[in-house]
């Protein structure tokens, strides 16, 4: 990937020639340190000549907007872009913040009229930034003070008071902490009361610039020691670059994609956010000087740079590549994508009328989002795309087998590849949270769309995508115990076997079915699900950094710190830890290098990305084929595959799926091949029961680890005695008593209550304890009364 750049015309054409000739050499000599985007097309910039200019992408020209007072020397500028959404203190419009070197800052409205001018510090303000939630702003100055102000400019608090000058300050993406640099140190100050300041030595020279990524919550810093470094939010070093030729004057994370842009003298370096570099752009012919400021546009496609010689440079990334099976899409320009098909040997250049913002490739389709449109290309009919109008500024795209999902400025949309709108999911608070959603918190599966709630990050909304389901406003909700960091819905399988895997903030991996157990996917289920959600979410892994499902089968791959794991049967086997243990393979990633990420998982090939290199790895092909045959229900075929390959993980996979599908004979064989003696004997017991009776179904549910379902089956079939026995077997004393009391009258021949109490007495005797449970205590007393 490369960065294409263009030096923009700074002086306006409207001014008459004489004055512009006089002024332009002058104004160009001022360093340009204040640059920011006011929309995806317009850049505002101001330098020491006090004149605010607006550069427009459409006209490729600058116009004067306003003039600052002569004694106001700007040092930093930041736009608050709300796009009409209300946040923090009521409905807001876009506002501009400009700081000066004499400790003042001004707030300007959209038409660049000064609304507030506040004297804030006793020395030059080095950074003035709006908080990401739009509720307030921070100013950090060379007098060592950081202050937080409300949006209208009222002082909220003085966060930091120190003697050392602050060179740069940035908000955390969650707006709950501030990072700032003093000398060679970086500090993080959480805003919560009584929280401790984290401070560490970051560079040998001055830290000149900071950037806090909204995508991955990491911090980049650039210093006078010619290096840039990447830190996590606790201050641990993740990456440290080799020494460049000059001091690193600016760093900036892309707000939407995993890029980091690094500016130094006469050079821009485009890096991945883990540190390895894609390419660098040099400016030798006309020297532009050091890059003082870098600012990405909100859609993350363009970057504006201000340099020490006063040049305004706009850059955008080209040669972004996506590869899926036989297709390769490469962006060759701002409005151009080349689609290459290796299978047919064709190469098509796709031109678009507008700027390409985002594109996604997969399942034989290329979906391209331009500024206002979506273009859907089928690999077979590349010349006739389907165009959808009205999707502006698409931020996240994901392609699935049947549908694709786009997240744009106004909502989330699920389309079919024919261009028909399939679903526009909504949940309480979805509109307000929209700008905070990113690819980590949203995942499209085969028949499900999973979205993590942003205000309550333990909550997962699952939208059913099967046609005909009443799904629009009634998502299932799934509540995890911990806050969720990343979610992934499975991309294949059948409609009945849909799973969602998620990593929580403790980096533990959980998996759950996306549909509720009784099979009815409508309203009543969701309440039940919340009530007993606990025993349906299974933990299957720890210390995960990222996960990905295979494109055609339900195989899951996850990356740990120094190894990766493949779960060959994460869904069906989730309930049984032994199955998970048998079907999980963990391999070392030492041969790849550090910081491994999963790039794709197509068919049976996992592609890892490590320091820029794509490293494809084959998973067990037999297991992949086994999954496919099982999906089609070809049991004999599956058996043959297992017999041929003779691998425990295959047998365990077959066993798990067969048990789930009530294939007793098959699962018995599979379990015996996988040496699961206990399961085999249990299955033999199962087979003695009359086929497809309530008892057998209940026992089968038990086998799958669904005690609740088993109990429900028994109760529905009026097998109260068995239900009580089941509860007793599970040592679920309270439930046993409840059932017994409730159905005492229905069952005349046996005294259920007596049986429960009898069992309880045995139990207490074995434990040699007196009764302690309040529910049973009552009965003990009753008994006492009766015996008296």
């Amino acid at each position: 990937m490369k960065l294409k750049t263009r030096i923009c015309k700074r002086s306006s054409i409207n001014t008459n020639t004489e004055t512009s000739q006089e002024r332009s050499p002058q104004s160009c000599s001022y360093p340009l340190s204040c640059v920011d985007w006011s929309s995806n097309e317009e850049i505002y910039f101001v330098s020491d000549d006090h004149q605010i200019y607006k550069w427009s992408d459409v006209s490729r020209d600058s116009v004067e907007v306003a003039k600052l007072p002569d004694d106001f020397i700007p040092t930093d500028m930041h736009w608050l872009l709300l796009g009409g959404r209300s946040s923090g203190g009521g409905k807001g419009s876009d506002t501009l913040l400009i700081c000066s070197n004499d400790g003042r800052f001004i707030i300007l409205n959209k038409s660049a009229r000064v609304e507030r001018s506040i004297s804030a510090h006793t020395a030059a303000i080095s950074s003035g930034r709006w908080s990401p939630d739009g509720a307030g702003l921070l100013t950090a100055a060379e007098d060592g003070v950081v202050k937080i102000w409300s949006r209208s400019g009222m002082l909220r608090s003085t966060v930091i008071q120190s003697d050392e000058a602050i060179r740069c300050a940035r908000w955390a993406p969650s707006s709950t902490a501030i990072a700032f640099s003093q000398g060679g140190h970086i500090s993080i100050k959480p805003l919560a009361a009584n929280s401790k300041l984290i401070r560490w030595r970051a560079h040998d020279g001055l830290v000149l610039s900071l950037s806090w990524s909204t995508q991955s919550n990491i911090i980049a810093s650039g210093g006078e020691d010619f290096r840039f470094k990447i830190w996590d939010a606790q201050g641990a070093n993740l990456y440290s670059s080799a020494a460049e030729e000059y001091a690193i004057t600016s760093v900036a994370f892309n707000p939407e994609k995993d890029y980091l842009l690094v500016g130094t003298f006469n050079m821009l370096k485009l890096c991945h956010s883990t540190g390895w570099s894609y390419s660098s752009a040099r400016f030798t012919a006309p020297s532009v000087g050091s890059f003082y400021t870098l600012s990405w546009s909100t859609d993350g496609t363009q970057v504006a740079c201000g340099t020490s010689t006063g040049q305004l440079i706009v850059g955008f990334a080209v040669e972004q590549q996506l590869i899926s099976r036989n297709l390769k899409a490469t962006s060759t320009g701002r409005k151009c994508i080349a689609l290459q098909d290796i299978a047919t040997g064709t190469r098509d250049v796709l031109e678009f009328p507008q700027r390409v913002i985002n594109f996604a490739l997969g399942y034989g389709h290329l979906v391209v989002a331009t500024t206002h449109q979506l273009h859907i290309y089928n690999e077979k009919y590349v010349n006739t795309p389907i165009i959808i109008d009205g999707r502006n500024d698409v931020r996240v795209m994901e392609v699935g087998k049947k549908y694709f999902m786009v997240l744009d400025a106004s909502s989330i949309w699920v389309y079919t590849y024919t261009g028909r709108l399939h679903l526009n999911p909504r949940y309480p608070g979805s509109q307000a949270q929209l700008p905070l959603l990113n690819w980590r918190s949203i995942s499209l599966g085969l028949d499900v769309l999973a979205i993590r709630d942003n205000s309550e990050t333990t909550l997962l909304h699952l939208f059913d995508l099967i046609p005909g389901a009443s799904r629009q406003y009634e998502p299932h909700s799934l509540r995890a115990k911990q806050q969720l960091a990343e979610i992934a819905a499975c991309r294949a399988g059948s409609a009945d076997d849909q799973f969602v895997a998620f990593i929580d903030t403790n980096r533990e991996l959980y998996i759950s079915e996306t549909r509720n157990l009784s099979g009815n996917s409508n309203a009543g289920g969701s309440a039940d699900r919340l009530a007993n959600g606990g025993d349906e979410i299974y933990k299957i892994g720890t210390q995960l950094t990222s996960i990905k499902w295979a494109s055609e089968t339900n195989i899951l791959v996850g990356v740990h710190d120094s190894c990766y794991s493949i779960w060959y049967c994460p869904g069906e086997g989730a309930a049984d830890p032994t199955i998970i243990a048998l079907t999980t393979i963990t391999l070392d990633t030492a041969e790849f290098g550090k910081h491994v990420a999963i790039d794709s998982f197509e068919d049976a090939v996992i592609t890892f990305r490590c320091a820029g290199a794509l490293l494809p790895i084959n998973v067990n092909v037999y297991c992949e084929v086994l999954h496919r045959t099982l999906q089609e229900g070809q049991w004999q075929q599956a058996l043959r595959i297992c017999r041929q390959a003779q691998h425990t993980s295959l047998w365990a996979t077959l066993a798990a799926v067969a048990t789930r599908k009530h294939q007793l004979q098959l699962s018995e064989e599979a379990y015996s091949a996988a040496l699961q003696i206990d399961k085999v004997s249990y299955l033999q017991h199962l087979k003695t029961l009359s086929p497809s009776s309530a008892e057998q179904m209940a026992e089968n549910s038990l086998m799958l680890g669904r005690t609740l379902e088993a109990e429900t089956i028994l109760l529905h079939n009026r097998k109260f005695g068995e239900a009580v026995a089941l509860a007793l077997r599970m040592h679920n004393w309270k439930r046993a008593l409840e059932i017994a009391q409730k159905h005492q009258s229905d069952q005349s021949d046996v005294d259920l209550l007596q049986r429960v109490l009898e069992e309880r007495r045995h139990y207490l005797k074995a434990l040699q304890r007196d009764e302690w449970d309040a529910m049973y205590l009552r009965h003990v007393v009753d008994d006492g009364n009766v015996s008296e």
């Binding site: 030729e245 570099s277 390419s279 660098s280 040099r282 030798t284 090939v605 320091a611 820029g612 290199a613 794509l614 490293l615 494809p616 790895i617 084959n618 092909v621 041929q644």
Partner: protein, 130 residues
């Protein structure tokens, strides 16, 4: 003749009456002619002088510009080393970038080869078992 001479009158060779001694008159005329000759020569000399001045000043201008150019070239020569150095740096970093890219490609190729051999093995296995 003598009386005439006393009265200041002279007779020349062709017997014309003159008020001045014809020898002197002849000499005067000669002198005048020589003076005219002299002034003409002086004019020519002046022109030559002017031409010379023009040429020499032009030459001075040329010399001056040549001198500046020489100084420029000299300076360029001095900075050339540095320029080459920076150029070399640029190329070096480009080479580095390309090598990194090459390394990436190489490792990708290596892994792809591994996949190929694995798949070949599976195919062989399959054919054997049939």
């Amino acid at each position: 003749m003598e009386e005439l001479q006393k009265a200041g009158l002279y007779i020349d060779e062709i017997y014309r009456l003159r008020v001045q001694d014809p020898r002197i008159a002849n000499q005067t005329i000669e002198l005048r002619q020589e003076c005219l000759e002299y002034s003409r020569n002086l004019q020519v000399f002046k022109k030559f002088g002017e031409d010379f001045y023009k040429i020499s000043s032009n030459f001075a201008k040329d010399v001056e510009s040549e001198k500046l150019r020489a100084i420029g070239t000299q300076n360029q020569l001095k900075t050339m080393a540095k320029q080459r150095q920076t150029e070399q740096q640029v190329y070096q970093s480009q080479i580095l970038e390309q090598t990194v890219e090459l390394e990436r490609m190489k490792s990708e190729y290596q892994y792809l080869q591994r996949i190929e051999s694995e798949q070949q093995e599976i195919i062989n296995n399959f054919l054997m078992n049939q």
